[in-house]
């Protein structure tokens, strides 16, 4: 029984090694807040041709930070990363399939989408 208790305690301590301290999480949240403020700034100031790329980059960075630190993917088993990334890749494939089928591959005799709208 002591063996079981000891291994559980070790597992518990190991779990605490994963992730950050509370202060670390607060710092991450502050970074996310600043990134959000920069995103919103693009609405009030003209960033020109950089607007869309900068918004996309900020979105990806925020996404990555939340997934890595708040969702612990950076510290957890790689199996979770594979499972989640598979879903993300499939979602991107759905977007690509819809885009190509409804926009790029229109019927030459007329707009396919116009039948619905």
């Amino acid at each position: 029984m002591e063996t079981v208790a000891a291994s559980e305690e070790e597992a518990h301590e190991e779990h605490h090694d994963h992730g950050l301290s509370d202060v670390g999480y607060i710092k991450i949240a502050l970074i996310l807040g600043v990134l959000t403020a920069v995103e919103v700034a693009t609405y009030f100031w003209d960033f020109g041709i950089l607007e869309v790329p900068s918004l996309l980059i900020l979105m990806v960075v925020k996404f990555q930070i939340v997934v890595s630190y708040f969702m612990h993917l950076k510290f957890d088993s790689k199996v979770f990363t594979y499972v989640f990334v598979t879903g993300l890749i499939l979602a991107c494939a759905v977007f690509a399939a819809m885009g190509t089928s409804m926009v790029f591959w229109q019927n030459p005799s007329g707009c396919d989408l116009s039948a619905f709208c």
């Binding site: 609405y43 979105m59 708040f70 969702m71 199996v79 499972v83 759905v94 709208c117």
Partner: protein, 214 residues
Amino acid sequence: MTDVAESSTSELAYGRTEWDDYHHLPTNTGLTNEKITMWSFLGSDCLLFGSLISTYLLLRNRVGPATSGPTAADLFDIPFTSVSSFVLLMSSLTMVLAVTSIQRAEMERCKLWLLTTAALGAIFIAGQVYEFTSFYREGLGFTTNISSSAFYTLTGFHGVHVSLGIVMLVTMWALVSGGQLGPERAETIEIIGLYWHFVDIVWIVIFAVVYLIP
């Protein structure tokens, strides 16, 4: 072997029962089934939101010949939505603090962070209800045009996810308060947290792609 024999009794260490032990069987991967299930669900939910976001992007500027009215993009109140986004983002912080609290067996603090997270989620939902109401008053209903249908479907599905998350958080708070969920089951809170963070990252994408990118 002695440990295995002892663990087959009905009452195990730390007040655990055979039911608890059954649900925490060692797996081939060394990972719990519950956590793998949640990650699989989140992976599949990416597909749902991927298709909804794709649909909106394809239809965002299409009003159609038979319908009229404004598009959602014409009515966006970016400062208001920015505050809502910030509130949801901060709820991810309080959620992760709830997880670390229960891992350290700080139950009172865990309850506080769980309730705070639920409250921030409720504020976000209230903001969404306000936004939908104001859009409707401006003449943008669900069936006004194809663009509005795509917008309400996307943001509505996200709102339903947040609402379900609030229900789960309040349930967790009740279980922790009733002593039915202790530090030995911290992973349950962690799994609910994964769902909540997922709802947050979906909004990160929606906020940028739907609201901010012209």
